[in-house]
């Protein structure tokens, strides 16, 4: 269970990660703020509460692994890595620019802290399953986390990987689905419904839980239950809001892959600064 202090710290950091997302995509004049903001809380939770890491040794063999299968949400991951100490926070402004270590989608060979290069949807989860199997073969106690989008569930390879993970009893793997309900062409249920998600995951042999993805207490309970579960991989389906934290981006499919202009940038940063001040004052 999270202490009040831990929870406040996570809320503060999540605000900063969101500001990093807005900062990066504004300077890049491109990128994917919507899904980055819906996933900002869980990425913050993973990097500051859940995962066993050493930022001074990004390639530490016994570290927990994270695969951003929905690689387009790299801005949130980069912001978390920067605040966790993998590289300077100022570097977030170089996102997507020539010469930057922060590519449009994660590159494990360029950016400290990235465990797998991703970007083409459906593929990251297979690599996470491979890591989890490898850890078991090596007798390592580390855990592997893969974050997928709900639209990404439309990729057939995702289900190949789910079958593989359950068949091999990869209880060191946790698959997280960011169910923000929107993809590029519109609501997921209109484009190609992935629902019911939890039932599908259960049918594939995973221990699945559905939680509010913006509630740190709920996330904490779900990840604790996942850790306890033996003999099968776990899944956490997070109900989230696309664009969470920036009022004009919330629930808008149009903000999937669009950068804020100068005015929108200012409004977004003002809102997030106010949210940060409010959390800090608590």
């Amino acid at each position: 269970m999270l202490t009040q202090e831990e929870k406040k710290r996570l809320q503060v950091l999540a605000c900063k990660v969101r500001m990093g997302v807005v900062e990066g995509t504004f300077h890049a004049k491109s990128g994917h703020p919507g899904g980055s903001l819906s996933a900002a809380d869980v990425i913050t939770y993973l990097y500051f509460q859940e995962m066993n890491l050493d930022p001074s040794n990004p390639r530490w063999e016994d570290r927990d692994r994270f695969v951003l299968s929905k690689g387009h949400c790299a801005p949130a991951l980069y912001a978390a890595l920067a605040y966790r100490g993998y590289f300077p926070v100022e570097e977030l402004q170089t996102l997507r620019q020539i010469g930057s270590r922060l590519q449009g989608h994660p590159n494990m060979n360029l950016t400290p802290g990235i465990d797998m290069s991703t970007g083409s949807l459906g593929q990251g989860i297979s690599t996470a399953a491979g890591m989890a199997l490898g850890a078991k073969k090596l007798g390592k106690a580390l855990r592997v986390y893969a974050l997928l989008g709900d639209g990404e569930l439309q990729e057939g390879q995702v289900w190949e990987a789910m079958m593989f993970a359950a068949h091999n009893r990869l209880d060191n793997l946790t698959v997280i689905v960011d169910n923000n309900g929107l993809q590029i062409d519109g609501p997921v249920e209109k484009v190609m419904s992935p629902y019911p998600i939890q039932e599908k995951l259960e049918a594939f042999g995973l221990f699945a839980q559905t939680v509010d993805g913006h509630d740190f207490d709920a996330l904490d309970r779900a990840f604790a239950a996942a850790r306890e579960r033996k003999g099968q991989p776990s899944a956490i389906v997070m109900k989230t809001t696309k664009g969470k934290g920036v009022s004009f981006m919330e629930g808008q499919a149009g903000w999937h892959g669009k950068a804020p202009n100068a005015e929108q940038y200012k409004t977004a940063m003002d809102e997030l600064s106010a949210a940060l001040a409010k959390v800090e004052a608590m």
């Binding site: 690599t127 491979g130 490898g134 990987a161 068949h167």
Partner: protein
């Protein structure tokens, strides 16, 4: 071709990876429900805990291999060329090639000699697909001896490697005692000055036979075995172009995108000489016995000899 022995290079793969695994604990073999056909069943029997069957899911197999490689294993992902290079192309490109992971993609059943299964399984596009991936090594061994050496070399090379093996038994043309192998090194099997036959895979044995037939007609043909399709051995091929002035490429692959076009690109920019490409024309295959198909699709010693003779006459 000393004793006329014939072995399918897929058998060479299964046995050599089984044996190599005794020396290296980090080797794993992944399959997609084809262990019997890719011949990795012999590995599975010897090392059951190091064999991972991914089921009929080649895309996932490549991703799992990538993940395992980041944990320090050296996965050999096995399937038919059609599915390893074809179906899983984008997984190979994005999840193995782009991060330059140490994954070996071992594809059996390359080319038209798959035979009776027909066009759906006859992959004549794998060189083309794999060559375009930056940093990918592409190997196409000619016989049992070279296939075994290629497996060992692929293990020793740090980075992605694609190896194509065949289904059909092919003549053993190398003497294992006198053979040495290095990635990127082509092999001059026969000296000649009128034309160079630049061949890969099972077409190397055919090119050697063609050179015999050409010699009887007074044409001196050099025979070069190009096991490494990428990176291409520029020096050996350029020397052949300079010395012979004519090249015939020979491959069990589409004339589009394979060894023939790789050689043409090199020569066009560096040492333009007339080239003829013996390969599968821009068509799909069909069912039939492997030997009959190879002859029907123009992939025999006779066709190579004819192409070389015609080229010599045209450019006399």
């Amino acid at each position: 071709m000393a004793d006329g022995k014939k072995i399918a290079t897929r058998d060479s793969y299964g046995e050599s990876i089984r044996d190599l695994a005794a020396e290296h604990e980090d080797i794993l073999v992944l399959d997609a429900d084809l262990a019997g056909a890719t011949k990795t069943a012999v590995f599975q029997k010897a090392w059951p805990d190091r064999h991972i069957d991914c089921g009929i899911a080649e895309a996932d197999m490549i991703g799992v291999g990538a993940g395992l490689s980041t944990m320090g294993f050296v996965p050999f992902c096995s399937s038919f060329a059609m599915f390893a290079a074809g179906r899983a192309f984008e997984q190979v490109r994005n999840t193995v090639g782009y991060p330059h992971l140490n994954v070996k993609i071992c594809a059996t059943h390359g080319g038209i000699s798959v035979g009776e299964d027909g066009a759906s399984h006859q992959c004549c596009e794998d060189f083309a697909l794999m060559r375009t991936i930056p940093g990918m090594v592409v190997l196409s061994p000619a016989d049992d001896v070279e296939a075994r050496a290629a497996v060992r070399a692929a293990y020793e090379h740090v980075g992605p490697v694609y190896i194509r093996f065949g289904r059909a038994a092919v003549p053993v043309i190398h003497d294992p005692a006198a053979f040495s192998f290095a990635i990127g090194q082509a092999e001059v099997l026969r000296e000649g000055r009128d034309v160079a036959l630049v061949a890969t895979g099972l077409m190397v044995a055919e090119a050697l036979q063609a050179a015999e037939a050409l010699a009887e007609k007074g044409i001196s043909a050099r025979v070069i075995n190009v096991c490494t399709i990428k990176p291409l051995d520029r020096e050996t091929i350029l020397a052949a172009a300079r010395d012979c002035g004519r090249i015939v490429t020979c491959e069990e692959h589409s004339v589009i995108g394979g060894l023939g076009e790789a050689v043409c690109s090199l020569l066009a920019e560096t040492c333009p000489v007339p080239v003829r490409r013996v390969g599968v024309e821009d068509v799909f295959g069909h069912s039939g016995p492997a030997g009959d198909l190879l002859r029907q699709f123009g992939l025999s010693a006779e066709h190579v000899a004819q192409a070389a003779e015609k080229l010599v006459q045209e450019t006399a």
